[in-house]
Symmetry: C2
């Protein structure tokens, strides 16, 4: 059986076909253009296969409130071509098969939960620290969602007393994303993150913010695993720094047996998104079956 | 049919019997003494009725990880008599009926969700701002729980630039609870909250912290209702202040149609805890049935 998965990102689309065990059979990547051109490329790729269902992990903001009449539609976004585009509805018109849509981070979380770093856990938070910061939660095999999907990157966290950067979130300035995303690092120091690899103070501050945010996520959600991914985490020295700072902040208030097993790296090498999307498709199929 | 409910607080226990529609038939309150004396009082009250099941909303910290071998046991606490007391197990020995245990705030949340301010919502966060700060979440009729129960009062939030209070959380100093609980107000100003009613700046600051915390809860959990209860919220002027500050912080990032319907007061007049506990008991009965 073949299931389709789309990792729909703001700069590129990854389309894949996989089986019910999460094995990717084929995969293609193309740049995100205007919606019509992009969906034409999507259609062309999947027409080669007989897929039974499709899962989509998309960039956002996207309306995922099932009761809303803009369900599956991209919301207000700087990508003007995509603004108010009825993404899910268009896909349903093209493919007459079960389709499930969720956020990119929720799909990635589902991938790591099913086959990656959290495969033996009952609940898992997947945080991506890249161009933006986002996080998805899977619990007992199900993606967490309230009325709408989470926007966890926009929590408010304490400032470091020595940091006077104004933050770069267009809505909140110094929310977590505004202080700690890749572009925030670039704007604060005038250089991209990979060029700052040797500057210890850069990663001290970054780990400080990551630990603050994880502290809030942890006491709210109590996940069994916290997976930290995204471009900024290519600085692998961040992992032990974040683990230590998190334990300092928690200060024994809750028992964590081994923080090295709690805060971990992803294991699916940038494939968590498409694998999770295929898993989403599988869920869509089960729901309709 | 009669179901028992216990609101087990650090200073007092409220025991009630109710029916499957949440109607409380009888209720008693006694101070929390050492565990044996307290459980004797509990037993005496419920012996008068033929209850089919029992629900308990307890103070904490309590181990609610079903896989743990101290499940249902009170954890490290300043209440030394209760520390490591196997609360759930003792209740099971006394009453040979289905028993469910959860946190006090989760029980209160379930009460408001079922019959109170969130009765028409699909997900609801109940925050209590009292001696401590805690919050519980109910979604699609189920209490949210990760590996263990949440400890939402201990999130980290930005300090107000003019506030140099050191905070009074024994573990984290200036976490949300350390900055904004009733005792934090008392320690910051040297007077209890109800004696500060006329001091506008006190409630400005309190609303500032409540809004910061709610902002983080909201983007993480996306609840349909946020119910603010507890002794500090007796200052009713806080509601509009918190609503306005929250909207300012959100800054249009997510659409909130009417904040007055989002951030609301409880509706069950200090009975949400016992009513929710009775609901917990009902769930225990259904699980065993
Ligand atoms: N080796 C690195 N060290 C630090 N930052 C990096 C590194 N590689 C990429 N980044 C930063 O990560 C961000 C891109 O994140 P990524 O997860 O790859 O993409 P996206 O979030 O757009 O999917 C950029 O801001 C980039 O500067
Ligand atoms: N009218 C009031 N105004 C401000 N604070 C109040 C008021 N009434 C009680 N409080 C504060 O609320 C706290 C008690 O909260 P409460 O929810 O009643 O109890 P608990 O959290 O112990 O269950 C105390 O710190 C008290 O000073
Ligand atoms: Zn933001
Ligand atoms: Zn604390």
């Amino acid at each position: 059986m073949l299931i389709g998965g789309i990792e729909a990102g703001g700069t590129k689309f990854v389309c894949a076909v996989g089986d019910e065990n999460g094995n990717i059979k084929n995969k293609t990547t193309f740049p995100t253009e205007d919606p019509d051109q992009t969906l034409e490329n999507v259609e062309k790729f999947f027409k080669q296969y007989e897929i039974q269902a499709l899962g989509v992990g998309t960039f956002g903001p996207v309306d995922l409130d099932a009761k809303s009449n803009t369900y599956g539609t991209i919301q207000k976004t700087p990508k003007i071509n995509w603004q108010y585009y009825p993404f899910l509805q268009r896909l349903k018109e093209i493919f007459s098969i079960p389709i499930a849509m969720d956020t990119d981070v929720n799909a990635a979380c589902l991938g790591e939960f099913t086959y990656g770093a959290a495969r033996n856990a009952d609940s898992s938070l997947y945080i991506t620290v890249g161009t933006g910061i986002g996080a998805g939660l899977v619990q007992h095999g199900r993606i967490f969602q309230g009325k709408n999907h989470s926007e966890m990157g926009h929590i408010l966290i304490p400032r470091h007393p020595d940091d006077d950067f104004k933050g770069n979130c267009p809505s909140h300035g110094t929310c977590f994303e505004g202080l700690a995303s890749g572009p925030a690092i670039e704007k604060r120091y005038g250089k991209k993150g990979h060029l700052l690899a040797e500057e210890a103070h850069v990663w001290e501050l970054e780990a400080f913010y990551l630990a603050q945010a994880i502290m809030s996520y942890y006491v709210i959600l109590s996940p069994e695993k916290i997976i930290l991914g995204g471009g900024v985490m290519k600085q692998e020295k961040l992992y032990p720094m974040v683990q230590n700072k998190f334990m300092d902040l928690l200060n024994g208030y809750l028992e964590v047996k081994n923080v090295k097993n709690l805060i971990v790296a992803p294991e699916l090498d940038d494939e968590q998104g498409v694998i999770g999307s295929v898993m989403l498709g599988l869920k869509a199929l089960e729901m309709k079956a």
